[in-house]
Each structure stands twice: as C-alpha cells, then as structure tokens.
Symmetry: C2
Subunit: 494 residues, 2 copies
C-alpha cells in the first residue's frame, strides 16, 4: 500500500515577541483595570473601545511603502475585488485612534469629551527581554477643554486611581511640570536654533546623573565622563547656563517657593510666566480639593516626554523601595505619565482641538501591586473533589454544586481516575486548598474525607512527628457538614 | 510668497466593517463578561488570554498564498532583516489559539485543562448589516477529559452563567443532543456514500420548515415547494426514511421517553446506542445536581453545527418572545452553542486529545439583556456642576470631589462657561440626573441651586401648570446639604 505523504507538523509557538497570559495574570489585570475604570467613570469619563484595526491613512505618521510595510506598525494591504486596496494596520497606541474617533464622531460627542480606553496595542518592533509586541495601555483624556482645570482633574483622578487599586497614600507622588516653563528658560537663554535647543534638552535630561556641576560643564565647554572619555559641551556662556541651573534646582519646600524660583529661571519670558501661572492655578485647584503636596507636587525635574507636550505635564512615581536584579534597593519609579497636547484632530479637520490626558503603564502598575502584596489573591485554586468510584460521578457533581452554591470555587477531577496519586498531584498542581475524598465506605457511612492541602504542605515541610499527630491535615466529616468544614479551610487561607 | 502645497486631509473613518464602541456599550459588555468569568472561575476554569496575533502556520486551515493572502483571515508577511518572512495573522476564533496554546504549554498545564477566554476575534469577510469584521467571543473548554461528565459540567455552567447575567430561570433552555445518535440513524438507514449522507443531513435541517410529511417527500421522490418549484428528493425508499422520521419526532415528555424513542431510531447501530448511553449519563449527572428539564432537555432537533462535533452537542436558547423588525412576535433564539470535538491538538503533536466546550454569542446575549431591561443601568450620566464664575473653579472642583467621595458620578463643566445655556445643553447631552448651579449670590448665602434634570424633563413633557408649581425641578439647598440632596435625586432614578 502506498503511504500517504506526511505533511510536516506545524510548530505550536506564539509569534516572536508575543505571549500568552494565563490564569491570575489575566484576572488580576482585569481586576485592576476594572477598579481604574470605576474611578474614571466616577469622574464623568466615558468608556471608548475603538477598533483594533485602523486605516494606515487615519493612523498617520506611518505611510505605506509598496515593498516594505510600515516600520513600527503591523500593516497589510487589504484585497478588494474592485482592485482598490486599502492599507490597514493594528493600532500602536490609544491616542491616534482617539484622534480619528473624535474627528469622525465629533458632532455626536459632548464637548468637552472625556473618555477612557483600555486594551492591547501592537508594535512591530524588535522584541527583547520584557519587551513584547502586544501590550496593554490604559488611557484617559479630555478633548476640547482648554482650561488647566482639566489637567488638574486628571492629576486628582490619577491619585484616586492609584489608591483605588491598592497603592497607599504616601507610597506614590504625582509630579507636575509645564512645558511652557522650559520654553521660557530657553527663551531667556536666547537659544533659538534647533540644534542648540536639542543639545540643551539632552543636557537637562542628564541632570539626575551628572548633577549641577556636570550640567554646567556640559552646557559650557564639556566634561570628562566617568569612563575617561571627553564629552563635548554645548558651548554656551556661563550666564546663558544660569537659567537652566535655576530651573533644575528650583524645587523648593512647597509649591510657592518652587514657583518663585521658577520665576527667576524664566526671566522676562512671557511664555515662561504663562507656564508658571498655569502651574500655580493647578496647585490651587488641587489644594482646594484636598490634594496636597503629600500626593501632588510641582516638580521641574519632570522632563521626560516634554517634546510631545505643549503645556502641563505629569508623571506618577511609586516611592517605595524594591530590590533590583542584583539585590540593591531602588525606588520603583514611574507608573503613569501624561500632559497637554494640542491639535489632536487638526490633521483630519483643520481645526485645532486641545487635549490633555494620562496613560497608566498597565504591566508596571500590576508588577508594583504584586511587589506590595496587593494583588495575587485571585490565584487560589479550586477545591478538588476526587473520584474514587466512577459510578458515583453524579454524587461528586452534587458535592461541587453545593460548594459552588456556597461561593466556593470547586471542581470534580475529570481525568482518568484509576491512579489516585495522580488525582492528588493534580490537586497540588491546581493549588487546591482542599481535596474531598469519598468511596463506597464513606458513602455508606454518610461521611467524606477532607484533606487540608495547604496545612498538609506546611506540615510536610517542617512539622515534627508530634505536631503531625496533633494537626491532622486529613479528617472525616459528616457529608452534611462538608460545605461548612471546607469553608473553614478556604476562609483560613484567604 | 510661494504657497505650501497642501496635503489632502486623511479621512477620519473606521476601516470598512469595523466599528467603535462608546460608553455603555463598552461597560455593559464588560460587566456581563465579568459575571460570566466569575461563574467559570467558580467551576475551576482558568482564564487564558492568548496573543491576538498567531503565525499562519499555527492557525492552520489557511495557507499563505504569495499574491493573495488568506481568505477569511487578516494576514501579512512579517519583514525580517535576515530575509526570513513569517506569515502572521489575527486570530479568527478562540479555539484555534487554544489548540496552539495547549500544544505549546501542555507540560505546564494540568490535565484536564479547563480554560475560559474572552476577547475580540477578526474575520476578513465581506461586512454587512450587523456583521462586523471584529467581534467578541466568549469560550469555555475542557481539554483532555474524555468523560461526558465534562460535557454535563459545561451545560450546568452555561445555565449558571445565563442566570448570573440576568436571564431568569424559565426564560432559557439548554438543549442537548449527540452527534453519535445521528450517525447511528445514518448507519441504520444504510446510507454510506457521502453525497447521500450530505443530502440527508440537509433534509434534516429543513424539518422545522417543511414538517414530517415534507421530510418524507424530500427523502423520497421530491416535493413541490411553496413557490411551485419542484425540489428533487434524495430518492430513498420509505423504509429507509423511517429512522430519520423517528429521530426527528423522538422528543418525548421527559428524557426517558425521548431516549427510548431515539433507541428505536438508531436500530442496531452500536454508535447510535453509544450516543444514547452518553445522553442518558448526561441527563443523570445533571438531574443529580438539580438541573432538571426546566433548564436542560435532551432534544434531537439540535442539529446545527453537528458536522464539526463528534459527541454531545448543546445549544442555549432564550425562550421569551421579542418583536422582530416587522413587529411580529418571535422567540429570541440561540445565544450559545458547543459540543465535544476530537483531535484538538493532533495536527501539532500527533496525539489525539479530546475536548468539549461552549461559546457564548456575546453581542446576542447583551442584546437579550437589553430586551429584558437587565442591562442599561450603567448608562446614567454624571451630575454636572456648572461654572457661573470662572474664578470659583476651585470651589466647583471641591463640590465634585465631595460628590465623588459619596460615590456619585460627577464632573465640572470644562467647556467655555460664557453661555450658560450651553452648559445646560451639555448636561442634557450627558444624560445628567442633576446640575448644580452656584454663582456669587449662592456663595454669599452658603447655598447651591440643584436642578433635577430628569424630573424637569418629565414635567416639561406632560405636566399641567399646577403640577409644575407643585413639583419644582429646581430648588435651593444649603451648601452643606448638597451631597445629601443630590443623592436623593440619583437614588430616585437608579
């Protein structure tokens, strides 16, 4: 007989840079996002779930190239019977779709339009450790409100959201800065050409690392770095460097001091003064609602991402310490950021519409909750009802039904019941808090055996023989008491 | 001066066949899915969120074609610097990814593996009214459990899920059938060639429309249909048609009667007998847990999708009546379906692994909940605090902060406050239950004006002048009573 030609088997693999999420990784994230959504909703924000697929034209930024599709996005040309072939792409963030949605539906949306959005985005980038090509974003934006009251509101909402998911007050701080202040600094320095401007911004970004003296050197002639290499400076005079130093060292004991220091950094710049006035307004609005400097501070060191923003910018940092890979303590760091940006929809409509928003780093915030033990409870496995006697399946099913009715997660073992050891191994793998055992003996006597698997594991790990005898991890119970006795075990470990 | 050449503006449009979801459409679906997930979790099912993007190789079924990517899926060739170019695609359902995930991670997963998954899937199909190219699926499957106890469990879980989201007992029924019974019918008819087999199956599918006599004609010589056209029959003899008729009319008063009738339909077929035995076991297991025929029935008329399944099949139908587009009453119909299918991962591993599962039609179930008024509450808008005096923004912000702390959804109007009428129009558009109004007069007196917008709309619609006077929709309240008075309004309408 002729053998059928064998097809090679397909590989069972996620595409490079993609991953699957199992169990608690899914539910804990969903719980966290649901709590955040609750806060956003209470602030009057409306949910928006835009299509995951956009036309490349609407996404903008990335133009189709005939041979090589768009860098940075996953894009493809849609086949069309009439020969027209649109380029489609997966969204790479939630802001570009917001722009498209607002431009498309603006006549049906209220103005201002407050919306939040949560969901996966996709980047066609080289994957690396911890860098995936599909990840979650969680954004809230107010479109069409020019007032800084909208920015202040988002800062307050961010505080509430962090506390709602379980970050304690005192364990986070929202830092607020204003892009216009930095513009004022550059104005008062007399920096006009783009190259110098970029060099100054890059230098400002190094303040954390090189300190005040280092920044002075880098703005001036240059600096010998730690490795012994000489870094060329920007070539500014000492007096030109002064506003930058004043700006970087302006953070005072309270908002008033910081704002006064900033005033001296921006000199006569109107733009700078405007930025400072906005910061003062934001601080005042927040203070009136009880969001004091224990939660929100004016902090000129927030520079990251300033290029994209046009007014107030903000960043939420977690201030508690964690251990890095090498066991050294370090602050957890940033979990959210945002600010005001103009012209959200101008490319669609020709009309400038101001917007301000914040994006929470979903994976980082979830990691932080795990660090602090505020997430992870949902990982508990089900109570496993073992199968001693296949013909009693209906009785086992009744047991799990009763347990579930009492709100206890429970399941019957549905694998091959022959090897009982495998059933207990399965229960372990499922992280079951307890197993129920009942064969014909137990059914005859109207009892069940209950195995406390967590206590069992504890005893197995470190108990003496005496303790072992005193704390039996398996015990008999009348069938009618099963739910109550299991509930005791489940409650003890929750 | 030379004018800059104007780029044409991009179109702000979702791609053809895609849509955006706003507000309550997002939150009501999320609430419904979260309740279903709670039930699945209680049954010991684990969440799984697989990557939205799969290799075309792993998805199977669709093979890449150099010029014209895969029918039915959105697929693209990934660029790779080394010249290797994988075909990637968006998942078109949640079962194909489950097969890939199980094959990839089977050594780390428990056996049996119970998992649920909820999320969007994508189909590259011609869109139509109500047919979108991105939509939600919500699946639960048990992999690696050959026992029909797994099927029974899924039927029970489906009942619990429907009741949990708000479908009342009595308003739904889960119908159970078994593919093997139908195979037994074909066997006892002596139908062996595929063409006849398909013709018989197609005829069975017409039972609802043409009735017993019609099926007899269509299995025999043929039939004159309503339009006067003659439909050729399958050409079977009367005795051959008998088992089909027995099968189609086997539904009795209770499961026992139905099963006895089915027995006569399958004659001596071992496969048929096997199918009936499985149905009897399922009915027994479910009855033991209290899932009687008011919720789950053995029903041979469940034929849809039988081709894909290999054992038990089930379908959940909502039995209450709704009006169709023409105002005629009709049953709401199917909202979920599933069954047992073999060889989930065989193409990856060479090993047959049995699986059984159910898929809930997310959009249909949500529509059903809206029909019955069980969803829609979350659509309530926020209380809108209007802005009479821009300089009092901090005071208005304090008001919303207090309202939110009392759990009341609230927001300050952040548009241009000049035209007060616009603020009230905005509040209407937001479906605000109440608006707060406070200018310098009110601040001086320590009061606020509260406008009950829902009562206001009712009065405007149908009140007499007398009623109007008696039920003022706007009233003064001391500032300190604001939260309590607003809460009265919000509670009245919830």
């Amino acid at each position: 007989m002729a053998k059928e030609k064998k097809q090679p088997r397909p590989k069972a693999e996620t595409p490079k840079g993609f991953r699957d999420y199992f169990g608690a990784d899914v539910t804990e994230r969903a719980e966290m996002l649901s709590k955040i959504a609750g806060v956003y909703h209470r602030y009057g924000f409306e949910a928006l779930e835009s299509s995951a697929v956009e036309t490349v034209e609407a996404l903008g930024k990335f133009l189709p190239d005939v041979d090589r599709p768009n860098e940075g996005v996953f894009a493809w040309q849609e086949g069309d019977p009439e020969g027209k072939a649109d380029w489609l792409a997966l969204r790479y963030d939630l802001t570009a779709p917001l722009a498209r949605v607002y431009a498309q539906h603006r006549n049906d949306l209220p103005t201002p339009y407050r919306r939040y959005a949560m969901g996966p985005v996709w980047r066609n980038e080289k994957p690396g450790p911890g860098r995936f090509r599909q990840f979650y974003q969680c954004d809230a934006d107010t479109v069409g409100a020019p007032s800084v009251a909208a920015d202040a509101e988002i800062c307050a909402m961010l505080c509430d959201a962090l506390e709602e998911v379980g970050i304690a007050r005192g364990d986070y701080v929202v830092r607020v800065n204003n892009r216009k202040v930095l513009e004022g600094v550059l104005e008062t320095m007399g920096v006009e050409d783009d190259a110098t401007r970029d060099a100054v911004l890059r230098t400002i970004d190094k303040f954390d690392k090189v300190g005040e003296a280092g920044v002075r050197e880098l703005l001036g002639k240059g600096r010998l770095d730690a490795s012994g290499a000489y870094i060329d400076g920007v070539g500014l005079g000492d007096d030109q460097a002064e506003p930058v130093i004043a700006f970087l060292t302006s953070k005072g004991e309270d908002a008033d001091t910081t704002l006064a220091n900033l005033q001296s950094a921006v000199g006569d710049s109107l733009k700078g003064a405007d930025g400072i006035a906005e910061l003062r307004q934001i601080a005042g609005l927040l203070a009136a609602q009880g969001y004091g400097p224990d939660r929100i501070v004016i902090d000129p060191s927030v520079v990251r991402g300033l290029g994209y923003y046009t007014g107030p910018v903000f960043e939420a940092e977690l201030t508690f310490e964690i251990k890095d890979e090498k066991g050294r303590p370090r602050q957890f760091g940033s979990v959210a950021g945002g600010g005001r940006y103009d012209d959200l929809v101008k490319r669609f409509t020709g009309q400038a519409v101001p917007a301000t928003g914040v994006s929470i780093g979903v994976d980082r915030l979830l990691a932080a909750l795990r660090e602090t033990g505020k997430s992870g409870d949902s990982a508990k496995g089900p109570v496993v009802v073992t199968v001693m006697d296949r013909d009693r399946m209906a009785d086992y099913q009744s047991m799990v039904a009763e347990l579930r009715q009492a709100g206890i997660r429970a399941e019957v073992y549905l694998g091959n019941p022959k090897n009982f050891g495998n059933q207990l191994k399965y229960a372990d793998r499922r992280q079951a808090p307890a197993a129920i055992i009942a064969g014909s003996d137990e059914f005859d006597k109207g009892i069940v055996q209950i195995k406390d698997l967590i206590l069992g594991a504890e005893i197995a790990a470190d108990a003496t023989l005496e303790e072992w005898k005193e704390r039996p991890s398996q015990f008999e119970a009348p069938r009618d008491d099963m739910v109550a006795r299991v509930k005791e075990i489940v409650d003890r470990y929750s």
